[in-house]
Symmetry: D3
Subunit: 196 residues, 6 copies
């Protein structure tokens, strides 16, 4: 009854180049399942490697003032603006887990102005959504609004780059009709999810 994972063929893990195979086995060991994006993007290994490298540079870094939860907020808000089911569901799960707030992802995806976040996060998402929808109009006043909330130049690059990278990912996921794993829908919604 369910739709397929992707409009393109999805490789068997065993058939993948060693580096991608290992990465996928690692995420499977950690998460308990293989997020479909790994399999669907691995249809083209070189592009998959570039995506994962960029992803890691922006999400796994430990410099700057953006928390991991804030990075996931950016992804959820802009993926919703891009109508991307996979990214809203998968990164919504990650946002719940990192923020330890089981209701935050649904709020940010639907209307961040109503979400339980602070002024700092609101400014961050306003900037991200402008980069997402109308980057050609980004002006000095937009930078000033972020600086007023303590964001530095490295943070601003991060906000823009996360928005831009997942804008890429949203478009690919939409064209592939990438199906979210069932597991993501519930992840981070129950108290025990947030223990680890």
């Amino acid at each position: 009854m369910n739709k397929p994972v992707s409009r393109w063929p999805v490789p068997e893990i065993a058939d993948l180049p060693e580096d991608l195979r290992q990465r996928i086995l690692d995420v499977q060991a950690r998460a308990g399942f293989v997020p479909n994006v790994f399999l669907a993007f691995a249809h083209r290994p070189e592009e998959a490697r570039a995506f994962f490298a960029w992803h890691d540079a922006l999400l796994l870094k430990d410099s700057g003032t953006l928390s991991r939860a804030e990075r996931e907020m950016i992804i959820v808000a802009t993926s919703a603006a891009n109508d991307c089911l996979y990214c809203v569901v998968a990164h919504g799960a990650l946002l719940r887990v990192y923020a330890k707030q089981p209701r935050l992802a649904d709020q940010v995806a639907t209307n961040y102005l109503k979400a339980d976040i602070g002024e700092r996060q609101r400014a961050m998402l306003a900037f991200a959504l402008k980069v997402c929808k109308d980057s050609g109009s980004i002006a000095e006043s937009d930078f000033a609004a972020l600086r007023a909330h303590g964001f530095g130049d490295d943070d601003i690059w991060d906000i823009a780059a996360i928005t831009a990278l997942f804008g890429l990912s949203n478009r690919m996921a939409n064209v592939l009709s990438l199906r979210p794993n069932d597991e993501f829908y519930l992840l981070g919604r129950l108290p025990r999810d947030n223990k680890a």
Copy 2:
């Protein structure tokens, strides 16, 4: 830390006119909590009564070919188009419960074209979203598309009227900044929710 239920004062249940008080106690007995929309709209009893009467006429009817789950799908899809957090969360819960599909509401709210629904539901939501966003352009061809999927004239009125009523509700909820009850976020996501 949470935002208030509404920008306007919310009445005490005990202070409400008897008919509204009874309705609220009934829903509380059935659901285990009082959905905030009852309290927030009861700030103006006459308008609340009109809303509930209209709501019941469209959602509790047992004629026509639309299932209750399909009616909730319409609400979720159009409320997402109207950026209404309360309605997406509350009716998302009802959709999960009535459809017994724990992932359906997130799909319909994000991008119904990617949802696990059939061609009939897809045509229904395409019509509803056109009524929601550009009702002035509704044309004979839109009616023909619905009839091709077996929808009769009464069904078509239902689809339009549910869209229109919740368009009203979305606007009020957005202006009130109506806060969804925490309970809705999880409702219908776990196997046991669907037993009853």
Copy 3:
């Protein structure tokens, strides 16, 4: 040559439930004709009753600072934004009558920024149109702009609720292809109309 009143069957007055029949006879006695919305909506009596109850609660109230003419201005401006012929024509007539300004409705329907209204009304219509078109972005600054013109919380609810209710009505009228009565087009345009 004229289009029919509605895409759905229109009941005979004599066949209607007594309360709707009486209401229609009353309006006919007062206006000299039966506005088509009464007949078209009466195709579904329960929904018609809810609409009239809500309508009366918002338009016939005598509390708050909004004049009846201002309430009709909101309806005309937002109905034009929703491309609703019936409501622009019918409520344009009412606006002319209540404001005793025969040119006001055409101005408000076409471009309220050019209308012969004051700053207070301009702020009111700016808010109403934002509720109409982008209610999810309504923010504290929008409330502040209204308060600066003397609107209180009850007035603001009224502005939002009138916009929302007629947004519902606009969508239904567009889907029904509800035909305005010929009488409305001229009503309030001649000096004698404004005598009563």
Copy 4:
């Protein structure tokens, strides 16, 4: 109480160059009043002459299959799309007079899909509104749709040119905040208007 005729100074008729003075006296003799556009545009005589020459070439011609009423329909529909109060009111009056249909202008200005016009006029206005709003996408299929209703190449140029010329006029009238003469609002609405 009324707004001024234009944001720019409006010349005295007596001070105008002879050709413009004569044209204005002629229209005054015929209509009984001087439409404000004549005075406001005459602030710059050369540009006014170009406008009137173009206007006459497109509206006073007697070749092609477009009736004068159809030409005015185009102006009313596209001026409404451009939110131009002056042109909707002034050409709405002309449309009523030429079509001898007192309700047609309000219909065409609000939503031409609901107007009492035929399929031919509907196709004509669909093309005009596309030229108005998205001329860069005009394609062969748009020409074919017009030809199917009997419009020839000269007619199609007329439709496009009327739309384009009044798009110019709409923008100038909006920037000037050009005030419609009070007389236009009622013109053509009463039976006697249509006698002449």
Copy 5:
């Protein structure tokens, strides 16, 4: 391989009325080629005359503070917003020639916020683009923003009228599918072009 000059027949120069023939021979003598707009618009001599008269009144005037290069900037920016290939290419060439800046036209056509222009020009183009896209919302604050940069009332009329006239021209060029002369693409890009 190239597309034709226009969707409508293009007259032979020898067959044109004397005034248009002379104007075209003059421009050919000066430019070295006949810009296609002259031939395509001359399909209708009266309308062509009106266009050229208006064009000359706005572009060849020597009063006001707008330089010829600034006038061409307005045309390029608004023609790009209207997706008009002919005007972007032809007036882009003129902008390069008058401004003696070989890269300016590509910048203004793509995103004027990134162009090598000053604050004055930026304010001018912001106003022009608002007239182009949403003239119904032009307000006192827009005039104030221009006056703060030293633009007088005559300049403001010029900015609006150039935008409006070329909005007309853009729509006609798009409907005609007017083909830019090959010569325009390179004009003003090389150092020698700017000598004269």
Copy 6:
């Protein structure tokens, strides 16, 4: 007078990690200058590497039916839709060089429907622009339209991925306010450019 290359600091080539330094020296040797994107993105070496890897995988591949010129067409058309000056200018140059058509880039950037391209390219760009602007609505019918022109599944992924990658690049370039090198503006416009 010129704007800086980027809002962020631009590294010295000598200070770059060896792989990036070598890549930049290579492109400099080949092109005669260092495109600013190399320097601006190298502010963050890891992200730069990911971009170049992805870029190479999509643009330097020799499988599939898309020519290099067609790949550049996609970049130019979608970068124009995203208002990205850098990418329109830089990839416009590459498009001219690869297609050996000095006027093609200006056409594709302004309005691809008027460009000297075939039906195949038109279908390709229609799909790319839909991925760019509304990827959530991509449907089976969009795939069918491409297949009708001989595009295979690998080509379709290429079109989508090039659009998505440069959508990322457009957003970053806009946020960085990345300045195009002067050399790009003229590249490929003169006969000799196309010799190599």
